[in-house]
Each structure stands twice: as C-alpha cells, then as structure tokens.
Amino acid sequence: MIYPDSKGFYGEFGGAFIPEMLLPNIERLKSCYNEILSSDGYKQKLSSLLNDYAGRPTPLYEASNLSSFYNTNVWLKREDLNHTGSHKINNTIGQILLAKELGRTRIIAETGAGQHGVATATVAALMNMECVVYMGEVDIERQAPNVARMKMLGAEVRPAVSGSRTLKDATNEALRDWINNPTDTFYIIGSVVGPHPYPDIVTRLQSVIGIEIEEHFRLKTGKDYPDYVLSCVGGGSNAAGSFFPFINNDNVTLLGAEAAGLGEKSGKTAASMACGDKGVIHGSFTYLMQNDDGQITEPYSLSAGLDYPGVGPLHSFLKVSNRAQYIPVSDKEALDAALQLTRLEGIVPALESAHALALLNKREFLHGENVVITVSGRGDKDMQTYMREFNL
C-alpha cells in the first residue's frame, strides 16, 4: 500500500498544480477526505452500496481454458460484472457519498468513452443530484450509445468543443466548470489523475478490487498472494486498485498495459510512460505526451478509455522506482486478445481490458505460477468496433 505525502507527492510525482480559483475547493477536500473516508458511517454506506447496488464482491474466476492455452494459472478479476459494466462504479459511488458529506448538490464529471460518464450519471440518478458530464465533441460522435444512456439517466451531456475535442479537453471543461461554480459543485474525476487529493481518493476507492483479489485468492488457493497482477492503464484507476494491496510485497510482479495504439514509434499512440516524458497535466506532475514546446499532444488508441495523454502520478512513481513495469500493447494485440478470451472463456471484454489480457503474450509465465488479470469492463460498448474489426 502506498499513499502520497501531505502535499500529494509520490516521490517527485503528483502535487496540486492548480489555479488559485480551485484552491479553496481542493484545500477543503484535502483537509477532510481522510477523515470522511475512514469514518464508520461512510464506510458502512459505501460497502452497502458496493454490495447491494453495484453487485460486489466480483468473482475471481479461474480461467481454465486460458490457463491450459498458456500453461500457467490465469485468474480473472471480473470487474466487468459490476453494475454499469466496469470498475468505474466503485469510484463514482465513493465520490458521490463524499460529495454528499460535503453538502454539495451538483455533480460534474468528464468522460472519454462514456463509461465514467455513465457510472457518474447512474449514481447521480440514485442520489437525485443534478449532473453535468463533459465529453469531447469527437467522442460524442464515436460513443453514441453511452451518450444516450447518460441522457436517459437524466444527466446533461455538454460537448467540449475546444482543442482536440476529446478526453483531455473534456477534463479541461470540467475544471473550468468547477472554477465557475466553486460553492455548490463536486467534481467526480474518473481516474487516479488530477490534482491531489484526487489520485489518492480514487486509488483508495478502487483498492476494493485488489483487496478482494487478495482475499479470494487466499480462499481459493491457500496461498497469500499471486505471482503476478496485470491490469490495463489509461489514467490508471483499475490498475492502481488492483495493485494497491500488493505494492509493498515484492514477491508480486505488477504489470500494467499501456495503449500503444498503432505502435510506440508510429506517433499514433497513448503510451504516455513509454513514449512521453515528465510534465504537468490537469494539476499533476507526471508522465505525459507532449511536443518539444511543452504543448500536450493528442494521444491515439482504438480504445477510447485508454486514450488519455497522461497517467496517474502513482504509476509514474511505480515506474521510476521499478516497482511496476508498464508494457505498451497495440490495437491489434488487444483485438486479438479480446477475441481469444471471448472464444476460450465466453467472456467479451472491454477493449481497454483486452490490453491487459494481451500481456499474456508479452511475458513468459511459468507452469504453476498464478497470474491475476483484472478484466476492468465488459465489451458491450465496443461491439461496433468488434463488428467492424472482426467482420461480424
């Protein structure tokens, strides 16, 4: 387990590089989130919603066909079975409860593929709160079904029309909205990114994934820990949650799959750790993709949920301290892995999650070793892509 220092730094990464206009809100959150997150009342509400509403705990499934194919023991952490179809709901339930504790009445969020937007609109409907989701104009066109879902849930979807009109611009718009509405609004950020204390809040809310992995793995195998934990990394929330309880246990190898898009050297990639360098994005000092003048560049991945030019500061720290390794996985490799899982196990994964599954081809896993892979979401939202790519 690992927490940032009091200023929000994991080593040199993180912090809160924010305009003065956001400072009171961030300071307020910083001063009380620890206390709220560890209070009995909050924990009780959180776990009852996670269990009865989201459907937790999710299974740790021993994928025997995949295991035979790779001649190792593959375990799948089934976050795809959550309500709304991904791990994103773990975070939005936790943050909306935080918003309520802080007396906020209006919720804003950013979304790329729409998964976090849907998960936010869902809990806003549940809590009867006003909800505005910012989404890049380009993504609105690419992800029509999720836009409709958010609207059906009662959220207003506002297009981000500036810059490249994708996830990073939607995040900028959400930050601007928060600047303009400093007193009644809570920003539910979708990953372990943004200014401190967000990376820590989201890591802790997603740590339920890793904690369940540890517990179920022990129950099923009698062993204390697996040999590997594998996750995909967009901003890095499902990975941070999956890794969390194992970070201080060097016996567990932690592997993250970054989206290489068309390839690391193609210029069309979202692998911010493999291809980017250090800088400040959305209030955090971390690895990001930028040009020689420090302008943030547009990433590319077939998977909209991994199409972000930065990464959470915790991952930058785990990378430079060699505690975790981050491996670029291309569109093609992810598609192959998605089809393979579908055919071998009858599980259609999200394209994001397929990047983690593709790691099975990127490393040698030995007979008898235990490899846990987090399937962060289900593939329903990606059917259009799969139909096109697989001629279905």
Binding site: F17, P19, E20, M21, P24, T183, G279, G294, Q295, T297
Partner: protein, 255 residues
C-alpha cells in the same frame, strides 16, 4: 520603465493582456507598439498553451490559433528581444507551467531577464509549490511572480500572498475563468471592499470580466487599476488595422 514606478506615480492603471503570436505569428511586436501608442500602462504577454484551464473560450481560441501559427517560447523570446528596442513600458508574461518546465525553468528565467520581463503570472503554479521548488531560481535573477486572489481566498491567505509579492496582486473579479462578465454585483462589491479594507502593502490590479468603461471605472474605485484580456483579444481578432483598432479600444475603455 519599472512597474513599481508606475504604481507609485499613477492611478486608474490600464493593463492589457494579449496572446503572443495572435492574430498573426508576427503580430506580437505590432500589438505591443499599438498598445504603447494607445497609452496602455503595462502589458501581459500571453504564452499560449494547449490546455489553458483557467481561460474561457476567447483566450482558448486565441491560444490554439497562435499555436497553429507556430508560436513557441523560443520564438516568443526572440520577438520580445526585438520588442525591447521598440517599446519601453513594462512587460510581464502570463502562461501555464508545462511549457516553461519543458523549456527549462532556469533558462526561462534567464531569457526573461534578457528580454526585460519584470514579472510572470503562472496561473497553475500555486504559491506553495513556487515557494518550495522554484522561488530561489526566480528571486536570484529578480524576476517575480504575480499571485492571484479570488472571492474565495481567505484573508489569511491574501495576507500571505501580499507579503510574498514584489510587484502586485492580481485580484480576480469573480469566481470564473477569463472572459465571463462579472457575477453577482452585491457579492462582488463586498469582496472588493473586503480586500480594499485590508490595506495591503502590494498594489492590486483587478482582472477577469473587465470589458468596458463601466467595469473599468468600477474596479478603479477599489484597486490600482484593471487588466483587460478577452475583450481586447476579441477586438483584434479580425482586425485589419491593429494600430487604430487598439487606439479606439483603449479610448473606449478609458472613456
């Protein structure tokens, strides 16, 4: 001319923000000349960034446009070196931190000195991070940051920022990004009065949402003057004669 002299000798100061490399890559110098000829007291030169989170649509648009024109920090400093020979009013730079980090903070400060830049406004660099990580680099060379205060800033923090300011404090007129017309007037008035009554050691300039003679006059009643950004950027956006459009813009503001 030094900024401190201006604050000591004049009131109702008018400062203008514009985006470097906008509307044309090489307009930076002509815009500066036009602003000096029009009698503007000092200028904030905007360093364009791809992701300006504290800015509204007007400055976002001008930034994107300037980046598409090919502006970079390196080029901007070359323009400013030339500008130094042509204008004599004080210049400060305003922009986000990442391009500076990429350029190299020490090299950035060095170039500021070479171009006679007296201060910098870095909206996403909070005082605490400046103080801990970068203060020594700036102070050593006599380039000073200008901090923002907002309606939400506590008295205690305003005092802290005041004590650590060498040039002036930038009072953000309402809780908003740039380019929005000012919010609730009663609330704003109370904020202006609160800050005025604190009797700060630093001069105070008011910015965000100042766009006409009325809003200019209003803030001059409480502070040393006003900073105008979006309204000026809009005024020169499609201008065919920057010199005369700037002159009439400044006349309109001063009244």
């Amino acid at each position: 001319m030094r900024l401190t002299n201006i604050f000591n000798n004049k009131s109702d100061l008018l400062s203008v923000y514009f985006t470097a490399g906008f509307p044309e890559l090489n307009s930076t110098i002509s815009v500066l000349e036009a602003l000096e000829n029009a009698g503007v007291d000092f200028v904030e030169v905007g360093m364009p960034f791809s992701d300006p989170v504290a800015d509204g649509p007007t400055i976002q648009g001008s930034s994107t446009h300037a980046l598409n024109n090919g502006i970079s920090l390196k080029l901007l400093f070359e323009q400013l070196e030339e500008a130094k020979k042509r204008v004599s009013f004080p210049l400060i730079l305003m922009g986000y931190f990442n391009p500076i980090l990429k350029f190299g903070v020490e090299r950035f400060v060095e170039r500021c000195v070479e171009c006679d830049i007296q201060g910098v406004i870095l909206p996403d660099m909070p005082y605490e991070i400046y103080d801990e990580k970068y203060r020594h680099i700036f102070e050593k060379r006599g380039v000073f940051p200008i901090f923002l205060i907002t309606p939400q800033t506590t008295d205690e923090r305003i005092k802290l920022l005041d004590e650590n300011s060498s040039l002036f404090l930038y009072m953000v007129s309402s809780s908003s990004v740039t380019g929005k017309s000012s919010g609730n007037n009663m609330q704003q008035l109370a904020y202006f009065k609160r800050v005025a009554e604190m009797k700060l050691k630093s001069p105070v300039m008011t910015g965000f949402g100042i766009s006409d003679n009325k809003s200019f006059k209003r803030v001059c009643g409480y502070t040393n003057g006003a900073i105008i950004g979006s309204a000026y950027v809009s005024a020169i956006k499609n201008s065919v004669d920057i010199e005369s459009d700037t002159l009439s813009f400044v006349k309109r503001i001063r009244g």
